[in-house]
């Protein structure tokens, strides 16, 4: 792993990545198998081939299991932090158990990955959320953890929203007054940015120049989709409202914090050397071909304290290519299409003529 942290996060092509990382993923699988009894039971039931020759052979478990069970692979006393994923209101959230090295690895990987997109030097940071989300421990969730994780990229930190989620014009204006002449960072969650920042800016009728900003956002399009906002629309509206062009979506989850997937200038999400993405056919779970849509499996080398290194999500997407993105980054690049719909509850509504009982 140490070697990995010294490498360029998008420097490995397919062959090299497979050769270097397959043994790591196998080791990780075996580690969890030996140290997490529940994980062992799962693999014994669903099966896996320790002799597999590709990353696709590494077993995966549904990400939702972290909502139902406490899964960890280190002694309890080694756990230094438990993170709960926010989950939409009314939903059960995941519980992720971190030991020191996993937690440190998450930060190192995050720094390397994000640095590759926004540069390595720290810059003033405008957090597009409210201060309470970090301060209030009971709210400490993916949102809080995400902001704290990203805060290392910022020097002067300011919160653009008040605790009642109203736009804090005073803070915004003084932030821009001080820093709009230089590059600055903005970070937040997609839906919150849309609803509480952009829509408010548009309503205010004032013009703020954010053209020197770089924005990293994530957290899913599900809520925005229900408001029929596309990715393109999101970008266009920001460009028109405040001249902001440099926008990077990120795709990640509490279960794989750190090894996030970030969108490049071509609009593609990229897998780094710390992660991998495999798209699987919903019906057979066989890997899909490039361009074919299916269910996303995400892999990460970081989870050591809990068996979250290979997870089947409930998101739909497609790999768009590998090693040949115009942005120059190696590895797979992909797109998210959306979330799989819950199984509809179907009654006996088929219309075929069943045997009729007399």
């Amino acid at each position: 792993m140490e070697e990995l942290y010294r490498m360029a996060p998008f420097g490995l092509g397919h062959q090299e990545k497979e050769e270097k990382l397959l043994p790591e993923y196998k080791k990780l699988t075996e580690h969890h198998y030996r140290n997490c009894e529940k994980y062992k039971n799962i693999l014994d039931c669903i099966g896996w081939d320790p002799g597999c020759r590709t990353l696709e052979g590494i077993p995966f478990i549904p990400v939702r299991l972290f909502k139902e069970y406490e899964l960890y692979s280190v002694p309890e006393e080694a756990i230094v932090k438990t993170v709960a994923s926010s989950g939409t209101t009314g939903q059960v959230s995941s519980k992720i158990f971190l030991d020191k090295s996993t937690s440190a690895g998450q930060q190192r990987a995050l720094t390397a990955i994000v640095g590759d997109f926004i540069g390595r030097s720290r810059m003033p940071m405008l957090i597009l959320d409210c201060p309470d989300v970090v301060k209030n421990r009971s709210m400490f969730s993916t949102r809080g953890a995400g902001i704290l994780g990203f805060s290392t990229f910022g020097t002067k930190r300011a919160y653009a929203l008040k605790n009642d989620m109203a736009l804090d014009y005073e803070t915004l204006e003084s932030f821009l007054e001080n820093y709009s002449g230089q590059r600055f960072l903005m970070f937040g969650f997609t839906f919150i940015i849309w609803k509480h920042f952009l829509l408010e800016l548009e309503k205010s009728g004032k013009h703020y120049d954010l053209s020197n900003g770089v924005m990293v956002h994530g957290g899913g399009w599900k809520k925005l989709k229900s408001e029929a906002v596309s990715k393109e629309e999101f970008r266009r509206r920001f460009r028109e409202a405040c001249g902001l062009e440099d926008i990077h979506e990120n795709y990640g989850m509490a279960e794989q914090t750190g090894s996030i997937f970030v969108e490049c200038g071509c609009g593609h999400l990229h897998a780094s050397i710390y992660s991998e993405v495999i798209v699987r056919d919903p019906k057979t779970f066989r890997p899909c071909r490039i361009g074919e849509k299916g269910i996303l499996q995400v892999m990460s080398l970081l989870p050591h304290s809990y068996p979250g290194h290979s997870l089947l999500t409930e998101d739909e997407g497609a790999v768009l290519g590998e090693d040949d993105c115009l942005c120059g980054r190696k590895g797979k690049y992909f797109e998210i299409i959306g979330r799989l719909a819950n199984a509809e509850l179907r009654g006996c509504s088929d219309t075929y003529a069943a045997g009729i009982k007399g």
Binding site: K38, N41, I42, R64, P282, T284, D350
Partner: protein, 397 residues
């Protein structure tokens, strides 16, 4: 009823005036000739209607409630109904997983001599809508019967359920354990009774040696499909587990699933999330029991071979073609899963009596039905251990 509550009710059959009059309703004679005639006419209407008649479950209901079928059911009661009369007003909370269940529920209450308020689920099914339309039309020609039936829909509103509970003589609740618990918090009148139809578990037993000899394996697969995939395995009657007798089990199993797979690939519409759901179910089982082995190449048919029968198996169920299977040394082993929650045992290659003996010999707490594969969905006047006619009528001693 207060106006603001009334405004929340949508009537599919009947109206607010009928509802109001029902409070003072009296029961009538079970299998009353006019009831039997009325259901027979309803049956004809359903079968002859283009919208409703194309649904096999509508057809099933229509055949069940036609005159000859009803009279046959009546015969089983012999002279035992002489001094009986319906309890009065039945309030039904119909299930959301089986579209036609609300009509079966209403019909048995009518046959037992009761008027009915039927609350249907908020999920609209085309065949239910069509059936209600026909029923409403038919009631127009039968003013006597019109006073006995109200079918309605309302959003989650405890006050309405409380009202209907307070005025009824019997309450028939189809639903999950939780919703039954919620509804039962609302009081019935002192003389009122509850018939709860709660979450159940069902399984299937196959005699492997007999199966291997059987010539109509394809037909059996079709029947099993109707017991399971046809309702997406959501019906309480759908087997979640297949128990094989040990001798010849390996080969019987192979052939059985192969035959089923053919039917599934021809008829079943797979939903993309179902593979994830099934994998999660297998993982959930594995976390609690270390004796499972999943086989799930094509996610439209997943099975988990298990090394022992556990009482809590029903906690790991998953709809849409997900089965546990177990090879039993002795038939008596099934007693372990004949818990209070166990509803239907479907079977192939046994005498019904053999299975009944197992249940009796082991003094099992559960098991309400034992039927051949393909018959799990056949509705009858005995259900979940209740006899509708006796339960919904009172006897004058």
């Amino acid at each position: 009823m207060q106006q603001e509550l009334k405004d929340k009710v949508r009537f599919l059959v009947g109206d607010a005036d009928i509802l109001e009059q029902m409070r003072e309703t009296a029961g009538f004679e079970p299998f009353a000739p006019e009831t039997v005639e009325f259901l027979d006419e309803f049956s004809k209407l359903l079968r002859g209607d283009a919208d409703a008649g194309k649904y096999s479950d509508v057809q099933t209901f229509a055949f069940w409630c036609r005159k000859s079928s009803v009279l046959r059911m009546k015969e089983n009661y012999g002279g035992s109904l002489k001094n009986r009369t319906g309890r009065g007003l039945a309030f039904h909370v119909a299930p959301s997983n089986i579209p036609m269940m609300f009509l079966f529920s209403m019909a048995v209450a009518l046959l037992a001599g009761n008027s009915s308020i039927v609350r249907v689920s908020s999920r609209e099914f085309e065949q239910s809508t069509a059936a209600c339309r026909l029923l409403q039309k038919l009631l127009g020609d039968h003013p006597e019967e019109a006073g006995k039936i109200v079918i309605l829909r309302y959003p989650h509103e405890e006050e309405l359920t409380r009202y209907f509970s307070a005025v009824c003589d019997s309450r028939i609740i189809w639903g999950g354990d939780r919703s039954i618990g919620e509804i039962r918090k609302l009081p019935l009148p002192p003389h009122g009774i509850d018939l709860p139809f709660y979450d159940r578990f069902s399984f299937c037993v196959i005699n492997s040696a007999e199966y291997l000899k059987y010539g109509k394996k394809q037909l059996l697969a079709e029947n099993f499909y109707n017991d399971t995939y046809f309702t997406d395995q959501n019906a309480c009657t759908s087997p979640q587990l297949v128990v094989w007798t040990k001798e010849g089990a390996a080969e019987a199993r192979r052939q059985f699933w192969e035959e089923l797979e053919k039917v599934v690939s021809r008829k079943y519409r797979f939903q993309d999330i179902q593979g994830v759901d099934k994998l999660a179910a297998a993982c959930r089982y594995a976390v609690c029991h270390s004796d499972g082995k999943a086989f799930c190449t094509d996610k439209s048919l997943c099975r988990v071979e298990i090394g022992a029968l556990h009482k809590d198996l029903k906690d790991f169920r998953c709809p849409g073609g997900y089965f546990y299977e177990y090879a039993a040394e002795r038939l008596d082993e099934i007693a372990e899963v004949c818990t209070k929650e166990c509803q239907t045992i479907s079977y192939f290659g046994f005498d019904r009596q053999e299975l009944l003996d197992v249940v009796k010999r082991n003094r099992c707490r559960g098991v309400d039905r034992i039927v051949p594969i393909g018959k799990t969905m056949d509705f009858g006047l005995q259900w979940d251990g209740f006899d509708f006619i006796y339960s919904l009528s009172k006897v004058i001693g």
